[in-house]
Symmetry: C2
Subunit: 96 residues, 2 copies
């Protein structure tokens, strides 16, 4: 399963900055950071459930926005990139 995880975590206060760091750190355990708030994740359905649950425990539901897109295998390898963006090689499943 390939997932694109994108997020906006409100950083108007130090609490928000802490949540942002935690979301990023969590996602780094599941996939590759391709932009500040965008991760490419290759994982199992069970991992998706764990990731979603863990993110839900971190964020502030009234301020933060998380989107998890399920995309077909091969989507990451076919991404169009401009500027400093690069296609990144994925191991089969990066979940630690």
């Amino acid at each position: 399963m390939e997932l694109l995880v994108t997020y906006d975590v409100s950083t108007i206060d130090t609490e928000g900055e802490r949540r942002l760091r935690q979301v990023a750190k969590l996602c780094e355990g599941y996939g590759l950071r391709v932009q500040k708030s965008v991760f490419e994740v290759v994982c199992t359905a069970a991992d998706l459930l764990k990731l979603t649950d863990a993110i839900g425990r971190i964020i502030d539901d009234t301020q933060d926005s998380i989107r998890i897109y399920r995309v077909p295998k091969g989507t990451f390898g076919a991404v169009d990139t401009l500027g400093i963006a690069q296609r990144l090689p994925h191991a089969e499943s990066l979940v630690l």
Copy 2:
């Protein structure tokens, strides 16, 4: 064709802030802004070429990062959302 456009535009100077505004404004003519730097776009292959060309003219290749993921029809409608994120209704093609 459904596209997920994600970007990081460097805003270390006013020039970068101008590029960021321009990229956002351009993408708003093609699709729906779902997060600060994430757009969902429903468009034709010809529109994709125009969008890519126009973005390329705005950004600084040495600082900015643009990713354009081609995703299957229905991907947007099946996105998992947490917090304030919402699934947004798409007209068939939003290109103005």
